[in-house]
């Protein structure tokens, strides 16, 4: 790289800022993971210390795995997250395709309407949603959560994906039409593979709030069989006594699946984020 465009000082400064931000962002995660491996006394004695031979204790993880149905909670969280993700991506991409591909009356109005949800938090509608779920007998089911999260994720998905789908070559879609491919084949076989980076971006932005959500599981599905991991962890937090070992261990474990999903999407994600900027 030429010195005119990138001086060493600037590179160091840029890396400095980024490293600082990384440290700040990772600090809470670091504290959680470190303390989850320590005894209760050691957590309070020196929260920032690394576990040593004396302070090392797996009591938190033992509690978590023995008490309650943590495996079930994990499974519930996984079902809800993956299920919602699937529907958000499927319906979001379909709506985006229709908006970007077909000319019809009220197209831009429809696009605006679908994007409106980005600005209005879905939690404002909690009471109405609860009433609806009660009326349809979906309270305490994972279906209720998947439905709500799908609705929550769709606006951003439609907004991002329709922008990306506009960039897919019209000629390619038209070539498919002339060769006799159906609109569904064109969508699934030609267009979707080309917007894969955008799909990964949407997947990550959709997945994390769903995985971390406490609000809707607490209101719509608080029963033992449908508890998600974030709700399940709450049993260790009491009004007067909190089992910090168990809470930290549960949170530490909760990071793992979302990390795995992120790693799956991240290769695509980087391309998705830089796609507009570089080219």
């Amino acid at each position: 790289m030429s010195t005119a465009r990138q001086s060493t000082t600037r590179t160091i400064a840029a890396h400095g800022v980024l490293i600082l931000y990384t440290l700040i962002a990772l600090f809470p995660v670091f504290v959680i993971v470190v303390n989850s491996f320590k005894s209760r006394r050691a957590i309070f004695a020196d929260p920032l210390a690394l576990p040593t031979a004396e302070t090392f204790d797996l009591i938190g993880y033992r509690t978590v795995l023995q008490q309650g149905d943590f495996l079930l909670y994990f499974q519930n969280s996984m079902i809800v997250t993956v299920g919602s993700l699937f529907f958000v991506l499927l319906f979001g991409a379909m709506a985006a395709f229709a908006l970007s591909e077909y000319r019809f009356r009220g197209n831009s109005l429809m696009g605006l309407y679908l994007a409106l949800g980005i600005m209005i938090p879905i939690r404002l509608g909690t009471v109405a949603i609860l009433q609806m779920m009660v009326a349809s007998g979906l309270v305490n089911t994972l279906t209720a959560l998947i439905l709500v999260y799908t609705a929550q994720g769709l606006p951003l998905a439609v907004f991002i994906l329709s922008e990306f789908m506009r960039s897919v070559s019209d000629d390619l879609k038209n070539a498919g039409r002339i060769d006799g491919l159906s609109e569904y084949t064109i969508f699934f076989r030609l267009v979707l593979p080309l917007v894969r980076p955008a799909m990964a971006t949407v997947a990550v932005f959709t997945m994390i709030p769903i995985w971390n959500d406490l609000w809707f599981p607490l209101i719509l599905a608080p029963s033992e069989e449908t508890k998600t991991i974030t709700l399940g962890s709450q049993v260790f937090i009491g009004q007067f006594v909190t089992n910090w070992n168990a809470v930290l261990a549960a949170l530490g474990l909760a990071i793992v699946p979302v990390l795995v999903l992120y790693l799956i999407f991240s290769r695509q994600l980087i391309r998705g984020i830089t796609a507009g900027a570089v080219k």
Partner: protein, 332 residues
């Protein structure tokens, strides 16, 4: 097999009319080129023939059969796009065979058709590659091959050479001309490049702002243009337009091709100064700025020298001049 007829075809996007009543007859086996400046509607017209755009009013007929409401795949056409539009996830062979596969053609027959097209276009060694592993010229040949495999009634080309570099463009142009001779199929070809139009076409359709300005064989358009637009569009460098009144003529505008303007240091009715000189070896183009007629182009064969800013005089060859009225229509 493959005659195309357009009857008073129009196209409107909302209230803007982009095709304003086009009538056209393309005979079976003819190579017809739509040419015009960008935004004249030539690509839209091609898409309407392909069925990718709806026809607002009028009829599109292939072999006398109205196909307005037929899906693109059922019109028995094949199209080659400017951006190649190959399917990125399929090999060259599958790209070529997809349309036949969709029609339910037996596998052996598809392989045979693809191999035959590959042989015509020298694509044999590339058959198992994916489009991303091919160069631009190879991709366009694959796209042409994909069209041939279908044995369509009508070939449609949408500026197929625009993305290729100059040398490849000439080579591919010759290849398309050869294909047309070998296949004897009807071809409709859209371009903004009048050289492509002149070299390939049996029949040129000059379009402007959604209207047909003139239809004819290349040399008919060159030697007998109907109006100033066609006269200016066909031929390179462009025809010079002079104000007739200043030359003592009764028409409004006089069109003189650059090779029909004589240049000399002392003699001639039009005075001007040399603004730029282009020496191409075989010919010399001199751009002369005149106070009365603006910038005029003079084309001389061989090598000549006219110093920039020197004063020169020009003589139009009156016998080769075209006369136009105030609306730009030809006076014959």
């Amino acid at each position: 097999m493959g005659a195309l007829t357009l009857k008073n075809v129009t196209k409107a996007f909302g209230k803007t009319e982009v095709i304003k009543g086009v009538d056209l007859d393309v005979k079976d086996g003819e190579f017809c080129v739509f040419v015009g400046p960008s935004g004249c509607g030539k690509s839209t017209l091609l898409r309407m023939i392909a069925g990718l755009e709806d026809v607002t009013s009028g009829d599109v007929e292939i072999d006398g059969e109205r196909i307005n409401d037929l899906a693109p795949a059922r019109r028995e056409i094949a199209m080659v796009f400017q951006s190649y539009a190959l399917y990125p996830h399929l090999t060259v062979r599958d790209n070529m065979g997809l349309a036949l596969k969709q029609l339910g053609t037996p596998k052996a027959q598809i392989v045979e058709a693809a191999d035959k097209a590959a042989a015509m276009l020298d694509l044999g060694p590339l058959m198992e590659r994916r489009p991303s592993e091919l160069s631009g010229g190879q991709r366009q040949r694959v796209a042409i091959g994909r069209a041939i495999v279908r044995t369509p009634k009508l070939f449609l080309f949408d500026e197929p050479l625009s993305n290729l570099d100059a040398a490849l463009r000439v080579a591919t142009r010759i290849e398309i001309a050869r294909l047309h001779r070998d296949l004897g199929a009807t071809m409709i070809y859209v371009t903004h490049d009048q050289v492509e139009a002149m070299t390939l076409a049996d029949k040129i359709v000059v379009l402007r702002a959604g209207r047909v300005e003139q239809v004819g064989r290349p040399m008919d358009l060159y030697n007998d243009p109907d109006n100033t637009f066609v006269a200016g569009f066909i031929g390179s460098p462009q025809m010079n337009f002079l104000k007739a009144g200043l030359l003592g003529l009764s028409s409004d505008t006089v069109g003189i091709r650059p090779e029909h303007l004589a240049i000399s240091a002392t003699e001639g009715p039009i005075e001007g100064s040399v603004s730029h000189l282009e020496k191409l070896g075989g010919e010399t183009l001199t751009y002369v700025r005149t106070p009365d007629h603006g910038l005029l182009t003079v084309r001389q064969f061989g090598e000549h020298d006219h110093p920039v800013d020197s004063t020169v005089r020009l003589t139009p060859d009156q016998s080769r001049a075209f006369h136009f009225d105030a609306d730009g229509q030809r006076l014959r």
